[in-house]
Assembly symmetry: C2
Homo-oligomer: 406 residues x 2
Amino acid sequence: MARIVQKFGGTSVGDLDRIRHVATIVKAEYDRGNEVAVVLSAMSGVTNDLVGKVNEISRLHDTREYDVVVASGEQVTCGLMAIALQNIGVPARSWLGWQVVVQTDDVHGKARITGVEAGKMVGQFADGVVAVVAGFQGISPQGRITSLGRGGSDTSAVALAAALDADRCDIYTDVDGVYTTDPRIVAKAQKLEKITYEEMLEMASQGAKVLQTRAVELAMNRGVRMQVRSTFEDLPGTLVVDEDEIVEQQVVSGIAYSRDEAKITLVSVADRPGVAAGIFGPLSDASVNVDMIVQNVSADGKRTDMTFTVGKSDFDRAVKVLEDVRETINFESLSTDPDVVKISVIGVGMRSHAGVATQMFQSFAEKGINIQVISTSEIKISVLIAEEYTELALRSLHTAYGLDAD
Amino acid sequence: MARIVQKFGGTSVGDLDRIRHVATIVKAEYDRGNEVAVVLSAMSGVTNDLVGKVNEISRLHDTREYDVVVASGEQVTCGLMAIALQNIGVPARSWLGWQVVVQTDDVHGKARITGVEAGKMVGQFADGVVAVVAGFQGISPQGRITSLGRGGSDTSAVALAAALDADRCDIYTDVDGVYTTDPRIVAKAQKLEKITYEEMLEMASQGAKVLQTRAVELAMNRGVRMQVRSTFEDLPGTLVVDEDEIVEQQVVSGIAYSRDEAKITLVSVADRPGVAAGIFGPLSDASVNVDMIVQNVSADGKRTDMTFTVGKSDFDRAVKVLEDVRETINFESLSTDPDVVKISVIGVGMRSHAGVATQMFQSFAEKGINIQVISTSEIKISVLIAEEYTELALRSLHTAYGLDAD
């Protein structure tokens, strides 16, 4: 007997037929004699509709009330799923965030889970009752409903799995696992049987959309074995596990890309202490997230160029902020390029293997791809290139690192 | 300063514009320096949609989960209303049933309120915060969400008003008060300034749809002053109060009618003990509500006719049940008539005035209206007549009892 948490996103429970289908997936796990907790999102479209209503009443709304409204979406899915399960002979009951209890802080609209008390739920497992849990929601220290913000349901599932000491947390979605790279671009991309937390974290934060960074981070910290698998096809998925569970580790596990990048260069900035703060302080105040940053050593020790990237949706705002502080920062000109892509090569094997970067640079040189910015971490190399080279770059790296399927 | 509970039904909060409009009504009360609690239904159509989804998943569903699903409707309205109020400068917060706390029994789908703890809400009144409360819902002793069933929001409002020791409980609806009779039929019908609980109770249970019987009953028992008034027109409504608040009491206050009646006569039933039980036991087992019952004294002491009425929607079922037990009850034939109407004359003044019934019978005799069944209570006379006489009967009685407007 195992204890399994299963999480289904909005498209997986998008209509009543899909809810019935998900119920059969839950039943299969239950019939294997397992204890099962199911974490659900709202039916797809419902959350957007509720958010739309809130914004129509007032753009500047109380996020505590926003949370009351949006949390209703998961509530409906849970009630319907419990009924769908009972209907096929599986004892089930719904649990809302405040019933579980999923405790969070009081940062409404993007609350963080501070604790999960699931004792009552465990008691019902003993009676053979499946728990159907509303994802994306919790309760604040003040007793108000909170929502966890983007990707919250994945995080709910992992936090519950940790609290329940579950054997596995299965994230059911519309893809069947984690691939070496985007199979829509690289036909020879392979589904990974296993991937480490660290790699998954880098994949997620470097553009792969299959899992939310927060959820992976929590799984890593709490040692929750995750599996990404398909709601619509009964195939083995990808396990996200500790490094020591992976016997034969590839040097590079995957290649991610993000088109959500725009490049900004401040030409001829004074090269003195405090300049970086003068640039990035105002951007941060304007909630602009800065990603890659490169500052060259200045030739004359007096002036230098500063290059960095921001998310495409922050681009216009970032430029405006910089124009506003032009006098203070004292740069010569502003050069921008929104048509860039960030390509990241990821693998825990990099720690012990030299030459991974060199291989990348050689591949790009052979194909005539110019590298604009480079940034590295222990298990990742990211480069910024012109967006038009995206597909070419992914395919050539995929081959170069020996990731192509036979 | 007064403490006021305001209740708005589904049509009053049917879309975002109406929610904004209701917010201005609340603000007006708040601006008078009053403490205000607003009880809301789901936006019209939402509850039906949710119930439809539940039934589509399974006709035979767990009512605990049904309640989880339907309670989401009021949750959305409350969050949106709190935001709409804040948006026009009125501090407000939403309260769900489990937050208030509205305690109920565990008869899901039609739970009864067993207690209301509103201490925290009162604390916030002191800070000038309007309470926006989800009607129609509570929490069971097991900590599950319950719904109160038909008319539940009126009952929520009255129970909250009682717990808060409120000065008044205003029920906002799409009519502007309680009338002497249906103004769509009798043009000279007048809006009542005041009506007693007992009369309102009879009016509601005899067919007037303006208030739910349960809510009036609770208001009477707990001494809550109610007012029925319009959401869409700023007019004084009708106060529902104790008898001693009404200085000059009319003998007859109102005339109600119900077309939801069907007449069944069992011809030539044995006139012996146990026969009534033999007839009404099976009907009750089949959830058929029986209203008026008349049994004549038998001429020969052996056989008699038994006549009674049931709701139109129960009619077919009732006939089937009776055919099934025909052998046991041993009646000669079954005579039915669905084309009947029940007319009720109501007034606490009847207690001290004789001749009210006589006046009714005379009016009907003059107009050639045949009375089929009569039933009376201390403050009410109900008669069953052919449905085609409805309008004639109402108008003639309205004039006869001196209720016509000038």
